[in-house]
Symmetry: C2
Subunit: 166 residues, 2 copies
DNA sequence: AAATATGTTAAAATTTTTCTAAACGATACG
DNA sequence: CGTATCGTTTAGAAAAATTTTAACATATTT
């Protein structure tokens, strides 16, 4: 496989993977492109490499920064903005988890709290209350588990899991 | 909040959450509906409750079974098929992880292996090789971590994390 | 056997998401 | 100042995902 085929294939695959992770295809492709670029790239270069419009590049680059998956790099004497990827995979995953926790888990917890105000004696209501209570308990655990997970040292994490398997 | 408002709100929220978890809105709504139903429901009842078509109900119910998030229940003397949700939240999450691991992580690992055949001495290629190697290492760790995670006893998991925080 | 009920499937329609084009604002520079 | 470059925004186009419709299969009831 040539380097150009390899780069293309990687960008495609990373894009596909991204879509199932709350990151849209282009956003993930830009991240992939930055990941394998030895130097930082400007918007123009990203547009060119991925054949996307200026607006698309701009929006997704900002989204990437928002997620903590890319950063601006200022070059002296350059008006253009350059971008580099977060290349530490553990940091990438950590940022995705933190973002999604905030966007998904936290609003859900809020709704569950509101739902706890439902009362009643009939079977339907009883089951509803039981399920909500159960999910709430579980979600709170998941919430603090994710907190610990993202704060944990990756080496500690791995070693503790290796211990577990044994 | 009345039970009916509560049920509606829960179904809506669960649907929204689902979309960010690789489970489409309707699929998640059906799961929500089954979750809070004291008894199993037939396709007709699901269609009626969620105002969806027969085809939609059928496809998503089968998708749910495919993910291990719902089951058929056969009732003696009934031609219709009835459905119940997987109600154990830990099991729900575990099944989602296992499904997504298979659908996303495993194909990615395969591509990464193919990409390892790229060779070359120039800077671009060197960086490419470095990044691919790094991601591969990380993904393999993630893969086995997820395996352990899904095999782990939930109580063990929580207690070990609680220990960690301290 | 005809009529009815249930489940399955694929094509068409709809909805949602993403992308582009184009206008605009700001800054640099001739 | 006028022109060029670069970043931002948004309405509408395009693409992708989801849903309905409708035809079909099969089993059950009359």
């Amino acid at each position: 496989m040539t380097i150009q085929e390899g780069r293309d294939k990687f960008i495609q695959s990373w894009g596909a993977l991204g879509t199932s992770w709350g990151i849209n295809r282009t956003m993930a492709q830009i991240h992939a492109l930055l990941l394998i670029s030895p130097q930082s790239l400007c918007a123009e270069e990203v547009m060119e490499a991925l054949k996307i419009s200026r607006g698309n590049a701009n929006m997704n680059l900002r989204a990437l920064m928002d997620w903590g998956l890319a950063f601006k790099e200022f070059k002296p004497g350059e008006r253009r903005e350059f971008f580099v990827a977060e290349k530490d995979m553990w940091q990438v995953v950590r940022n995705i988890i933190l973002n999604r926790k905030k966007r998904e888990l936290e609003p859900t917890l809020k709704v569950l709290d509101e739902l706890s105000s439902v009362e009643g004696e009939d079977l339907e209501t009883q089951e509803f209350i039981r399920v909500i209570k159960d999910i709430k308990l579980f979600s709170n655990k998941a919430d603090s588990l994710l907190d610990s997970l993202t704060k944990a040292d990756p080496n500690w994490l791995m070693s503790s899991f290796i211990k577990m398997i044994k």
